[in-house]
């Protein structure tokens, strides 16, 4: 019974949007000329989906708090890191909620909240996530040194294409080949590789993946082959 209810809700959700797409905006005169009855409610439906989806915003923080507070209160290993998490979570909620409006400096507590918010947003958050991504550049260089081995025709072609793209997308490539005919310059070769063989492969993959996406969509919509509870 539970499984049927879940299946029904899944099916109804998909059916609305699918029918809204398949039914014409206005039916031909011989069919009565009626307008698509589902379109007027489309914005309300999408608003509803966005609001209900956003209501899950406490799931992640609740899970994290549960874990960290448990570690902190029982003084388990790593309790200091959990304390840092809880402290910064609290400070950021207060700072974000009490900061002054954009363009205003605020007074008293609001001004302090604005300062703290900017330090957290630009200083801590931005710097951490940007720097974490920057670590990948270092690992890429060490991977290039250790793992990029040219030991067959195909890998040689792959590395050659990569080298042309790497040099063709930066001014260094322009500088290296500036004296050569246009079709032999790195930027031209890089654009050709991206526009012709790369596009051909990407399109073939897209067309093939479309079939897979349809099959997965039908499977999910009709609940075929998986349990709903």
């Amino acid at each position: 019974m539970r499984r049927r209810v879940v299946w029904l809700i899944t099916f109804a959700g998909g059916l609305y949007f699918l029918l809204e797409f398949l039914l014409p905006e206005q039916a031909p005169a011989w069919l009565g000329g009626f307008k698509n009855p589902l379109t007027p409610y489309l914005t309300d439906a999408t608003n509803f989906i966005v609001v209900v989806g956003t209501m899950a915003f406490l799931l992640g923080p609740f899970n994290l708090l549960r874990g960290h507070l448990g570690t902190l209160l029982r003084l388990r290993k790593g309790w200091f890191e959990s304390a840092v998490f809880v402290v910064f979570l609290t400070i950021s909620i207060v700072a974000a909620a009490d900061r002054p409006d954009e363009g205003k400096s605020g007074a008293g507590f609001a001004h302090l909240a604005g300062l703290v918010y900017n330090a957290l947003f630009y200083g801590v958050l931005t710097a951490f996530f940007a720097s974490s991504m920057a670590l990948l550049a270092f690992y890429l260089v060490s991977a290039a040194h250790r793992a990029f081995r040219v030991n067959s025709v195909e890998t040689g072609l792959m590395m050659a294409a990569a080298t042309v793209i790497l040099l063709g997308q930066v001014p260094l490539g322009d500088w290296m080949t500036q004296g050569l005919p246009k079709f032999l310059q790195f930027p031209t070769m890089a654009q050709w590789i991206l526009a012709v063989p790369n596009t051909a492969v990407q399109r073939a993959v897209l067309i093939g993946a479309c079939g897979g996406a349809f099959a997965t969509g039908v499977r999910l919509w009709l609940g075929i082959g998986k349990r709903q509870d």
Partner: protein
């Protein structure tokens, strides 16, 4: 952003993250937890301020106090499916959360049909490329010939890739061995292009951070 507190905080956090290259250390872990706490906290407040408050809470509040459209009170009903998400934490009533996640799966599937049709049909049409260099408005030109040769490479690449991936033909079949090999070569060229682009992106992350450290943090401190 230009306040010294933000700049110094950014520099310290950046150097703490880079210290991970030497080895995992407590300084990095503390900064990691601080950033996680800050991002969760700020994300919570913004999600309320920019979505739930204007789209859900304000219509309810104005309907109940008579200053807005009375139909806004219907948004109270959104609490029912919204609250179902939190039954994920209950072992006994977990199935209730599958009601709302099932709704979203259904919606995504329904929209996926529409999205795929509108996305792929023009792709198939655009694959029909001219191969005759004499058929252009100016007749034969070397540019038209070069374009037609590129189109030929395109068509060969597309069909051999489809052959390699999707049509389940044995690779030792003598009629298809060569086209499948060509398909593999085209895929390797495309992978090389994707790898080159990946390097560009990864390097840009590091360049941006070094630019911040040098131009925004360090340069103003150096004697001019």
């Amino acid at each position: 952003m230009t306040h010294p507190l933000s700049i110094w905080a950014g520099a310290i956090v950046t150097l703490a993250v880079f210290s991970y290259l030497a080895r995992d250390n407590p300084f990095y872990r503390l900064v990691q937890q601080a950033a996680l706490g800050a991002s969760v906290g700020i994300g919570l407040v913004i999600a309320w301020q920019q979505i739930l408050a204007p789209m859900w809470w304000t219509p309810i509040r104005t309907a109940l106090d008579g200053t807005g459209d009375a139909r806004g009170a219907w948004w109270l009903l959104a609490l029912v499916p919204g609250a179902l998400w939190y039954f994920q934490f209950s072992k006994k009533y977990f199935w209730l959360s599958t009601l709302v996640s099932g709704l979203f799966v259904g919606v995504a599937a329904g929209l996926a049909f529409k999205g795929q049709i509108l996305l792929i049909m023009p792709q198939i049409g655009a694959s029909l490329k001219p191969l005759n260099p004499f058929a252009g408005p100016e007749g034969f030109t070397w540019t038209a010939l070069a374009q037609c040769l590129s189109n030929l490479v395109f068509l060969v690449g597309m069909f051999t890739t489809l052959l390699y991936f999707f049509f389940s033909i044995k690779t030792d079949n003598r009629w298809f061995a060569t086209p499948i090999r060509v398909g593999r070569i085209m895929i390797m060229i495309s992978l090389g292009a994707m790898f080159g682009s990946t390097v560009m992106t990864r390097m840009s992350y590091l360049i941006e951070r070094l630019q911040f450290l040098y131009e925004i943090w360090l340069k103003p401190l150096l004697p001019s």
